[in-house]
């Protein structure tokens, strides 16, 4: 049943309703613009008064707030506040958050201010509603107001519950609107019944069963799917090139994709709209867009230098005592620099929005943090008045600040306008990572020191925070907003240390972003506190005083001191005056660190939110450098907690996220352009379940104190506590997170300097032979070149062949993989046109259907037989040996006839194929006559009587129709297969390695006959890899063969391998797997993190999730043991999108998410991890580049 509280969709619906009590307020006047602070957008008086509370005649209540729930649970907490003041049940409330159509304009949901500050109007409104309702009830019940009590919206006379009237009855048949009186008396905290009680979140049940909640789930009738194509300057937000770097868009490049509705180009904004989402995504990948040259971003290799070089304006916010004199007289000068890296908001769901444009009006469903600011942006972008736009706020993945939620809403608006239909735009993971306004890098420099007595001489603190509010991207890309550098004054959050330093100066260097940046949880306060709290630890150590004791000397805020004492006591703080006092546990060094901060948010001097203190216990592996945060004890004082469990969960979240930021997180940029290259989770790993510390939360009982923001506070001291604990464990100070294993290891045991290896370049193998061939070919051409044509025939009537013969021919054609080469990508089977890359040029395959003009319809069997035996086309011209007639020639006449019958029985398809045009001298086809004289042995081979019938059958299939040698046998200078020991000895083909099939195999487990059979039959095996790349279609075709034939092939191939039984193979395989799991040298570095996070959900040592699909241990994978990384790189680039059987499993292509260097890192790690006895692969990066750009990949 629908409640009335759920039905209004606009302010007008409230104003026009009957049976309701409204508490309204005049939109607050436009705030004066404040330099360098987040934008505030005034309410538009044209929209009338704002509504805060509506009490309906069915007993339900609508409560409205301008703030939104970013996953912190304020929907529940605000509902508790409204329910408390109204004395109704939680389930009577519908909490409306953030819609511009209904909710009041209360600015952006930032700075932990929703409960602390912005709940006040709602609280007052609810109290005012209750007061009015009680006055009405008093008249109805003929009782004094102080005789009444309320429960669940029923007013009764105390002690006589029969004598009662409901809110519903009191508002029925009337429309009452009262203007908010902020002076209305609200409840005393001691009278609270609901506030202060842990209350289940109202949103979780719907989310746990998949009901519509998220903006990602919005579906509108007629909705189309959009994707955007972003410019190459990923992460830039200012500079003249922004908005005018596009050179051209070639729409014909996506003409082949079905259901493309339109392509939208405005300045540097490019988007596509399609009927189906996967086609929009395909169009996004394949649309040919050319960009002009643009200047690279400033060098970010050294953040400290980059931040110093970034233009800034100095702003002194605190200056007391005489810092300069104090430092001049200091007994010990301690000048320190702390650097914070760029970090990501890293929302788990990339941003999404739906826009529905009607001429002159638009609705946008968005996951925005600031609906009214977004509406103003959209108005500017679309040249509409703000009141013509409805922004409906839906929930989104947690954002912890400004991510791409607004950007994608603007993208959707532009695309919807272009097509006149609702359009949903989903950003990709790569786009969200690359373009989200980063949590800014930050530079904190402290000049300070100690007096002779160990007291603090002076504290001269400077902080540089390159960030702003991040102009909505489409405004920049379309040129609506000029791409100027904009500096905000937000580096001042918690810039004044909490310690009572007599001589103190705090200076903010306000600066524009380098990379597009905006607020991220803790904003500038978190890095500032990192510096304050590390520095006081350094002072304490230098003074030889316990870090807690030293802090308490300077912490004059009693509430803070009490919190710090209580927290350290709870944690079992081990006082120490120097590091490394705890005994190491084997390889693990142990340390304990402390830090304290009160998050001071909003415009300087700002407001203090909750107080927080951390004690972190860490273990540092002295061999690998890994830091594990074992336990965190957090003390937290948030005053009155509306929902204590909600606060506790927020603290847990802050601890996990901060630990993640401290240990792992750092945005990586391209060394040349400084654009963002962290595009997926492997290159930006976040803390996972294995790494989560034990978290002990101690919440101070302060119900008598006003509520303080709790969304960010407990994150603020975290990094310093961890850094201080690492110092305690190792005696080494780390002043720039993340504290990665390689950083710590290098500090613990600096490696000797190594000369850099010059990169090696490889010459393509055919470079020399090609030249030789060119010369040699000239000689015998005239002599052997020309062959006669075989007369045309009218197409043979296939009915002369029996169904059995045709079926046998179909199977034999499958054995010969005819259709694999003679079918173009997305083309008709056997109609030709596929381009084959050979060392001599591109060869197009011919049409094998019986079409008389373009196919083989006019071919007699004799012509077909000659082509298969001698490589001569019907008209007498030579075919190139990319067509494996040197193998096919071994086929018996009987089998050739069956294949011919099958081919002629196909439906003729008229399909012209591109002409093969090789460069001279290969273009001179008669030269092939000489080649054939040298390398072709026409005709079937006789069976080997010494071998079994099965072996001979296998040999016939493998060497004949199966033409296994064509790929698996290396070729000589003239492109002919080599003999002897080279037979099936492995070769490169089309950018893949066809591995050796004989005893020289590099497979770590020998191939048994049974394994060979399984591989050929099912495409995967127990002790080896999965058939992929060019081998996949071979296995797919072999499916047409009877099992006896496949077994015969396996039997024949096995005869070239050292015989191995199933049991022996199994044993070898198990030993390898065990050794790989136990014996591998543990290497922890950026490469291992990349691999573990990017690939680890499937590829793990049996200690990860069990996912659908076979997943053989990587140590068994032959590709990792090969001398070249090509096959591994191919698979990483292109993934496994098709498999020979259902159970094989799929793998995504990483070519769009990882750059050459990152793929090379993964490959190098896998090689040393899974084939440690093999030499390292050299220069993998250029292999990746070559294979990424390989021509064959673009077919």
């Amino acid at each position: 049943m629908t409640r009335r509280a759920d039905t209004p969709y606009s302010r007008r619906d409230f104003h026009e309703a009957q049976g309701v009590l409204l508490i309204t307020r005049e939109p607050p006047p436009a705030p004066p613009p404040v330099k360098g602070q987040p934008a505030a957008v005034p309410g538009n008086p044209a929209e009338g008064v704002e509504i805060l509370i509506a009490v309906w005649d069915d007993g339900s209540v609508t409560a409205l707030s301008g703030h939104v729930d970013l996953g912190t649970g304020i929907r529940t907490a605000l509902a508790q506040i409204a329910a408390e003041e109204l004395d109704v049940r939680m389930d009577q409330i519908n909490m409306v958050l953030g819609d511009t159509t209904r909710a009041p304009n209360q600015g952006a949901t930032i700075a932990s201010a929703s409960i602390q500050i912005h709940a006040n109007p709602l609280r007052a409104a609810a109290a005012q509603a209750r007061a009015w309702l009680l006055s009405q009830a008093a008249a109805h019940l003929d009782a004094a107001i102080d005789e009444l009590e309320v429960n669940g919206g029923i007013v009764s006379v105390r002690g006589n519950s029969e004598h009662a009237i409901s809110y519903a009855d009191l508002v029925r048949g009337r429309h009452t609107a009262l203007l908010l009186d902020l002076n209305t008396a609200v409840k005393r905290p001691e009278d609270y019944r609901l506030v202060g009680q842990s209350t289940p979140r109202v949103d979780i049940p719907s989310k746990a069963v998949g009901e519509l909640t998220f903006v990602h789930d919005v579906r509108v009738p007629g909705m189309l799917h959009g994707r955007v194509i972003r410019p190459p300057y990923a992460g830039a937000d200012h500079g003249d090139f922004i908005g005018n770097t596009l050179e051209s868009v070639d729409e014909s490049s996506i003409a082949h994709i079905p259901g493309i509705v339109t392509t939208v180009v405005i300045g540097d904004f490019v988007g596509v709209v399609a009927l189906r989402e996967e086609h929009a995504e395909q169009a996004m990948r394949e649309l040919a867009v050319k960009w002009k040259e643009w200047p690279a971003l400033p060098d970010l290799a050294n953040l400290e230098v980059a931040l110093r070089d970034n233009p800034s304006t100095r702003r002194v916010v605190a200056n007391q005592g005489d810092v300069d004199a104090a430092l001049a007289n200091a007994a010990v000068r301690m000048d320190r620099t702390y650097v914070w890296p760029y970090q990501l908001h890293a929302s788990i769901g990339p941003s999404c929005a739906v826009a529905d444009w009607h001429a002159e009006r638009m609705t946008v469903w968005a996951g925005t943090q600031n609906p009214h600011v977004l509406r103003a942006d959209l108005a500017k972008l679309m040249d509409l008045p703000d009141v013509a736009i409805d922004v409906i706020r839906m929930e989104a993945a947690g954002c912890y600040g400004r991510n791409c939620a607004d950007d994608v809403a603007a993208d959707a608006a532009l695309l919807s306008r272009a097509v006149g239909s609702p359009v949903r735009v989903q950003l990709t993971r790569e786009q969200e990572h690359q373009w989200e306004p980063k949590g800014a890098a930050q530079l904190m420099e402290i000049h300070g020191g100690l007096n002779a007595d160990g007291s603090v001489a002076g504290y001269d603190f400077q902080t540089s925070y390159p960030s702003n509010g991040a102009v909505t991207l489409a405004l920049l890309l379309t040129g609506k907003v000029s791409p100027q550098p904009i500096a905000y004054e937000m580096g001042d959050r918690t810039s004044v240390p909490p310690y009572d330093y007599q001589n103190l100066r705090v200076t903010i260097n306000d600066m524009a972003p380098i990379l597009r940046a905006s607020w991220l949880r803790g904003v500038s306060a978190l890095p500032n506190s990192f510096a304050h709290e590390c520095y006081i630890d350094e002072l304490a150590a230098e003074a030889g005083v316990d870090p807690v004791e030293y802090r308490l000397r300077y912490l004059k805020d009693d509430r803070a001191a009490e919190l710090l004492r209580a927290t350290t006591e709870r944690a079992g703080w081990m006082p120490h005056v120097k590091p490394q006092q705890q005994e190491a546990d084997g390889d693990f060094l142990k340390g304990q660190g402390v830090a304290y901060a009160r998050y001071v948010h909003s415009r300087f001097p700002g407001f203090g939110a909750a107080w927080a203190a951390w004690v972190a216990d860490v273990e540092v592996n002295r061999n690998t450098g890994e830091v594990h945060v074992r336990r965190v004890v957090v003390g937290h004082d948030a005053g009155l907690m509306i929902n204590p469990d909600g606060v506790k969960h927020q603290i847990h979240g802050n601890v996990v996220q901060t630990t993640s930021r401290a240990l792992k997180e750092e945005v990586k940029v391209d060394a040349r352009t400084n654009t963002v290259i962290s595009k997926e989770w492997g290159s930006y790993p976040i803390l996972n379940f294995r790494e989560v510390p034990v978290i002990d939360v101690m919440m101070m009982p302060r119900n008598d104190q006003p509520p303080q923001g709790a969304g960010e506070s407990s994150s603020v001291p975290g990094t310093a506590a961890i850094a201080n604990a690492i110092f305690d464990a190792t005696g080494i100070r780390f002043r720039q997170p993340p504290f990665t294993a390689e950083l710590v290891k290098a500090a613990l045991s600096p490696p000797p300097a190594e000369p850099a290896n010059p990169p090696r370049t490889r010459r393509p193998w055919w470079a020399v032979p090609g030249a030789l061939l060119a010369g040699a070919m000239g000689i015998g051409a005239a002599m052997l070149g020309w062959k006669s044509a075989i007369p045309e025939v009218t197409r043979i009537d296939p009915s002369i062949y029996s169904a059995e013969v045709i079926e046998r021919g179909r199977r034999l054609a499958a054995a010969g993989d005819c259709s694999v080469c003679h079918t173009a990508s997305n083309g008709v089977r056997n109609a030709g046109g596929r381009a084959l890359d050979t060392p001599f040029g591109k060869i197009y395959t011919t049409n094998l259907t019986p079409d008389p003009e373009t196919g083989i319809g006019k071919w007699s069997f004799t012509a077909f037989q000659r082509a298969m035996r001698e490589g001569i086309s019907r008209d007498g011209h030579h075919l190139y040996p990319a067509f494996p007639y040197t193998s096919f020639t071994k086929t018996t006449d009987d089998d050739l006839m069956a294949i011919y019958a099958y081919l002629m029985s196909q439906e003729p398809v008229r399909a012209e194929v591109p002409k093969t045009a090789l460069a001279f001298p290969f273009s001179v086809r008669p030269l092939m006559g000489l080649w054939n004289a040298l390398y072709l042995k026409p005709g079937p081979e006789t069976a080997d009587p010494a071998r079994s019938a099965q072996w001979n059958r296998g040999a016939y299939l493998v060497n004949g129709l199966g033409h296994c040698t064509a790929c698996h046998t290396p070729r000589n200078e003239l492109g002919a297969e080599k003999f002897g020991k080279y037979y099936l000895g492995g070769a490169m083909v089309e950018g893949w390695e066809a591995p050796p099939l004989t005893a020289i195999t590099h497979a770590p487990v020998p191939w048994s006959e049974e394994e060979l059979f399984r591989y050929l039959r099912h495409g995967h095996t127990e002790h080896h890899g999965v058939a992929s790349g060019p081998m996949l279609p071979v296995v797919q075709e072999l499916a047409a063969l009877p099992e006896t034939d496949v077994r015969a092939m396996a039997h024949y191939l096995a005869s070239f391998n050292t015989p191995v039984s199933e049991q022996e193979a199994k044993k070898a395989s198990q030993e390898l797997v065990t050794a790989s799991r136990l014996g591998a040298e543990r290497v922890v570095n950026a490469d291992s993190r990349l691999f573990t996070t990017a690939c680890g959900s499937c590829h793990h040592d049996g200690d990860g999730p069990a996912l659908v699909g076979v997943n053989r241990p990587l140590v068994l994978n032959s590709n990792l043991h090969s001398s070249t990384p090509d096959n591994l790189v191919q698979i990483i680039l292109r993934g496994v999108r098709e498999t020979a059987s259902h159970d094989a499993g799929y793998m995504p292509a990483f070519m769009h998410s990882l750059n050459d260097q990152q793929i090379a890192q993964i490959a190098a790690y896998m090689r040393q991890r899974y084939a440690p006895d093999k030499p390292v692969w050299n220069d993998i990066e250029s292999t990746v580049a070559r294979l990424r750009n390989a021509e064959h990949a673009k077919n």
């Binding site: 379940f689 999730p1105 069990a1106």
Partner: protein
């Protein structure tokens, strides 16, 4: 490209899907079948937000082409239970309040279902390993671990003779 309709059983219903066979299963579940449970997170099988069950096993629907689900049984969050008839894992997650923004919740619940079907009594380490590649940015890990343990209890209680 697949041109003939694909038959997939989704949440117990036989579906005849006239969609491109190479379309990610995730998109087809969401766009063609209107399901909200599986979420797009990375498209690379790294984060687990899109997790569904295929023939009872955990699967990342963003990397599986729809043709790969042909002839198989797919279960999504919606197929586990509803608000009035919760699956015990859903119930456990609600009771432990194991969501902040809730975007990863689908993957956490589905992965837990798959884990407990295979191993009804996992150790803490086994739970952490099984969920190690389900990413949560809000830091709900503590509550999620508690929810998995509660789900184990609820499952055990369900099995007890009444």
């Amino acid at each position: 490209m697949n041109t003939s309709p694909l038959r997939v059983t989704v949440n117990g219903q036989q579906c005849c899907l006239d969609v491109p066979g190479d379309a990610p299963l995730l998109f087809v579940l969401r766009n063609d079948l209107g399901l909200n449970g599986p979420k797009y997170g990375c498209g690379l099988g790294q984060c687990g937000a899109c997790t569904v069950l295929i023939d009872g096993k955990s699967a990342r629907s963003c990397v599986i082409p729809t043709s790969g689900a042909a002839g198989r049984h797919v279960t999504t969050l919606e197929g586990l239970g509803s608000k009035t008839a919760l699956h015990y894992v859903q119930q456990a997650f609600i009771e432990e309040q194991a969501a902040q923004c809730g975007y990863c919740l689908n993957g956490m619940i589905m992965s837990t279902v798959a884990l407990l079907q295979k191993n009804p009594c996992p150790t803490d380490e086994q739970i952490r390993n099984a969920l190690a590649h389900n990413l949560c940015r809000c830091g709900t890990h503590v509550e999620i671990l508690k929810a998995v343990r509660r789900a184990m209890q609820l499952a055990a209680a369900e099995k007890e003779p009444k």
